[in-house]
Structure formats: structure tokens, C-alpha cells
């Protein structure tokens, strides 16, 4: 208990770092994932190919490797950003691949007749997707989206190894100060639970709200 109370500020900074990483990466991942899902079902072949390549590369690369690629790779092309921004970029792109696939699966749950009816009325691809298909896909996408974002929150721990302030990294200074490693980690775990359970609650509420019979 002392570990926590003695180092409340340290834990607080860590938790805040994890929350920030999670929120910004989630927003980036949701935006990119949605665009990539649209690409993957687009009638234009190059867009489909791009979407497929995006998912294949990012989903099959270990996240740590992706961090190295972004942190060491981008500066070589003259792109120098704060470490936190690099971390958001790596986490967001990585997670977008999973979100893309969840959204695509959701699109698959909408009967093809819905899209056909929209197209037969003269709607463009974007209108068909945005006005008819995605609103109906959303319901099915909520549970996998929740899982993906919870995974994102936990994956953000990797950023700690790349000089970004986040929750897991809190153990290093505590260890140096001589605190019990076990209790340090117990409170870190509680911090993660705080984040992930909040996400769970959020998605449960979304499910309840949008899961009403149509």
C-alpha cells in the first residue's frame, strides 16, 4: 500500500500517459481502420489492393518491431517528432489493421440487398456505405471493437521501452528506490484494470444503446 501512497504522483503520471496514448491511438486507429475497411470493399481494384496490403503488413508485424521501424525509420526520412507522437503513430497504425477487419466483418453482416437497393436508387459508393451499410454494420462491430481497443490499451505498455511516460514504465524508478517489485506491479495492474474496465463499460453501454431491435 505504501508504494502507491508514497508515489502517487509517479503512478498518476504513468496512468495519465497510458490513457493519453490509448485515446489518441484509438482515435487514429478508428479513423484509419474505417477508411481501410471502405478501401477493402471499394469497387476500385487499386484501393482494395492498398487496403489488403495495409492490413497484411501491419497485422503481421510484431508491434515492437513496428515501434523500431517508426522510431528509427522515420527520422531517416527527415521526420523527427516527439517520442509520444511516434508511439501514437505506431500503435494507431497497428491497431487500425484489426479495426479494419472488425468493420469489414460487420459490413458482411448487412444483407447484400441493402447495398443493392441503395445503389439502384442512384447512391454513390460513399453514400451507400455511409448512409445504408455502415449504420447497420455498427451494431455488429461494437463487441470486436471493444476487444481491439482493450488490446490497444495494454499494447501501449510497449511505448514505455521507448522513452514514453506510461504506466508500466513506473516500475523502473520504483525498483531503483528499493520498493517491493511485487507490490509495484500489483498497483500497475490495478491501473491497467482501471483503463480496460472503463473501456469495457463504455462498450457495454454502446451495445445496450444500439443493440435495440430494429
Amino acid at each position: 500500500m505504501n508504494v502507491l501512497l508514497d508515489n502517487l504522483a509517479l503512478y498518476g503520471d504513468g496512468l495519465l500517459g497510458t490513457v493519453e496514448l490509448t485515446v489518441w491511438s484509438a482515435l487514429l486507429a478508428l479513423a484509419l481502420g474505417l477508411v481501410m475497411a471502405a478501401f477493402r470493399v471499394a469497387p476500385v481494384r487499386p484501393l482494395r489492393a492498398f487496403g489488403t496490403a495495409w492490413v497484411t503488413v501491419l497485422r503481421n508485424t510484431p508491434l515492437t518491431l513496428l515501434f523500431f521501424a517508426v522510431l528509427l525509420g522515420l527520422p531517416r526520412f527527415g521526420l523527427v517528432l516527439p517520442f509520444t507522437l511516434f508511439a501514437v503513430l505506431a500503435l494507431g497504425c497497428y491497431t487500425s489493421a484489426f479495426i479494419c477487419e472488425a468493420v469489414r466483418a460487420g459490413i458482411g453482416t448487412v444483407p447484400t440487398g441493402q447495398g443493392e437497393a441503395a445503389r439502384s436508387l442512384g447512391m454513390t459508393f460513399r453514400q451507400t456505405l455511409g448512409l445504408v451499410v455502415l449504420p447497420q454494420a455498427f451494431r455488429a462491430v461494437i463487441p470486436p471493437l471493444g476487444s481491439t481497443l482493450i488490446a490497444l490499451a495494454k499494447n501501449s505498455a510497449i511505448a514505455g521501452s521507448f522513452s514514453v511516460t506510461e504506466l508500466l514504465g513506473v516500475y523502473k524508478p520504483l525498483n531503483e528506490l528499493g520498493y517491493s517489485i511485487i507490490w509495484s506491479f500489483v498497483w500497475i495492474a490495478v491501473g491497467y484494470l482501471l483503463v480496460t474496465l472503463t473501456l469495457s463499460a463504455l462498450f457495454n453501454a454502446l451495445e445496450k444503446h444500439y443493440g435495440v431491435a430494429r
Binding site: P43, G113, A117, R119, S120, L121, G122, M123, Q136, A213
Partner: protein
């Protein structure tokens, strides 16, 4: 029956794998004409109907609508589709929107109509198909026959040049078929250009200007209904009629 062709198919071919579903199809539909397509299942009649607004692509041949060749994907195709209404076997009403929204969505988003104008017109059309009282309901709250009438109103809201019906009554309970056919008969009387794929021989006989009989991906006969039903020329058509008119 006007002289100029609104819909014209020439030498249209399509395969599903090894199956040659459309074989050298030639078909002209004049302005104001009602053409009913009949034939055994698997004869390609639904596919034919769906190629006209390019929900099915074709491999060879040409399709022209009002003199304009059907464009490939993209905005040009969307513009053509806006002018050709389609009514599906499974209704395909937008499940997440109310009846009124179903009818106003495309006029507002595609035609850029003002919302009030689109709603006024939608209520007129819903009244015409006898569903004015159901404007605020969701499709799942309606019976099949009611859903199909909403679908017809939705198609009419775009002021289409022609309407395509792909087996509009095949998914309906028998007692609901007539309410849908009555709306279609009324449209036919008013001079709407219609291509109707159906198994309703009564509609073919009394509402159609021409009956097109298809089998195995080919158009076998294309004649006025009174001639076709009185004396079908082909053995295939005689066989088909004998099977469905017996009971």
C-alpha cells in the same frame, strides 16, 4: 406503346462459371411499355432484369437506356440508376430507417431535394400505395405486402423513367400478393415503363403489352400476351404453361 426504345439490349451475354445464363439477349422496351418476363427458375430472367441497371455486369453486348449506353462503375452509372427504379423480391427496405426516411433518403441525398419537399412527395406516394398511416414505422413492423408497397413508393420518389420489378410478389403470402399487384396494375395503366419478372400469369395476361418467355438463358418467345397464352409457339412455353396453369 411508344415507338422509341427506352431500354434496349443487344447481343447480351453472361456466364456464371460454366453456366451461360444470358445467351445473345436482344430486347427492346418502348416508352410506356409494360414487358413481363416469365420462364422456369434458372432461365436467367432475374439476371436479365438486374443487368438493366448493372447490378449484374455483362460480358458482351450493349445495353442502352434512353439512348445512352450503360456506363461502367462510378458517378455516371449512379446517375443512370437514379432514373431507373428497382423493386426487389426481398423488398430491401433500409432496416435502420423509418418508412418515411426510406422514401425520402435518395431524393434528398441523390437528387438534392429539400427535405420538406421530399417529405411532402413521400407522403403523397405513401398515400397512393395506401400506407400514409405507417410513415413513422420501421420496415420490420410492416407486413411483407406493406413493405413491398413502400419499396414501390421509394422507387417512385425518384421520378424514374422506368421501373424494374424482380419477382416482386414471390416472397409474399398469398393474401398479400394482390395488394402489390394492384399498385403495379395502376402504374401500368398510368403509362409507366415497366419490366416485370414474375410468376403471376394473371398480371402478365391482363397488364402486359408484351410477354417475354425465357428458358435456359435465351428469349424463346416475345409476343403480346393474348397470343402467347392462347397459342404458345414453342414446345418449351407450352410445357411451362401446362405445368403452372394446371392447378
Amino acid at each position: 406503346m411508344a415507338g422509341d426504345a427506352l431500354i434496349e439490349l443487344r447481343g447480351v451475354n453472361k456466364h456464371y462459371g460454366a453456366l451461360h445464363v444470358l445467351q445473345d439477349i436482344d430486347l427492346r422496351v418502348g416508352r410506356g411499355e409494360v414487358v413481363v418476363v416469365i420462364g422456369p427458375s434458372g432461365s436467367g430472367k432475374s439476371t436479365l432484369c438486374r443487368t438493366i441497371n448493372r447490378l449484374e455486369t455483362i460480358e458482351s453486348g450493349t445495353i442502352t437506356l434512353d439512348g445512352v449506353p450503360l456506363p461502367q462503375e462510378g458517378r455516371a452509372l449512379a446517375r443512370v440508376r437514379a432514373d431507373v427504379g428497382m423493386v426487389f423480391q426481398s423488398f430491401n427496405l433500409f432496416a435502420h430507417r423509418t418508412v418515411l426516411d426510406n422514401v425520402t433518403l435518395a431524393p434528398v441525398k441523390v437528387r438534392r431535394k429539400r427535405k420538406e419537399d421530399a417529405e411532402r412527395r413521400a407522403r403523397e406516394l405513401l398515400d397512393r400505395v395506401g400506407l400514409a398511416a405507417h410513415a413513422g414505422k420501421y420496415p420490420a413492423q410492416l407486413s411483407g405486402g406493406q413493405q413491398q408497397r413502400v419499396a414501390i413508393a421509394r422507387a417512385l420518389a425518384m421520378d424514374p423513367k422506368a421501373l424494374l420489378f424482380d419477382e416482386p410478389t414471390s416472397a409474399l403470402d398469398p393474401e398479400m400478393i394482390n395488394e402489390v399487384l394492384e399498385v403495379m396494375r395502376q402504374l401500368a395503366r398510368e403509362g409507366m415503363t415497366m419490366v416485370v419478372v414474375t410468376h403471376e400469369m394473371g398480371f402478365a395476361r391482363y397488364a402486359a403489352h408484351r410477354v417475354v418467355f425465357m428458358a435456359d438463358g435465351r428469349i424463346i418467345e416475345d409476343r403480346p400476351p393474348e397470343e402467347f397464352f392462347a397459342a404458345p409457339r414453342s414446345a418449351r412455353a407450352r410445357d411451362f404453361l401446362a405445368k403452372i396453369l394446371k392447378h
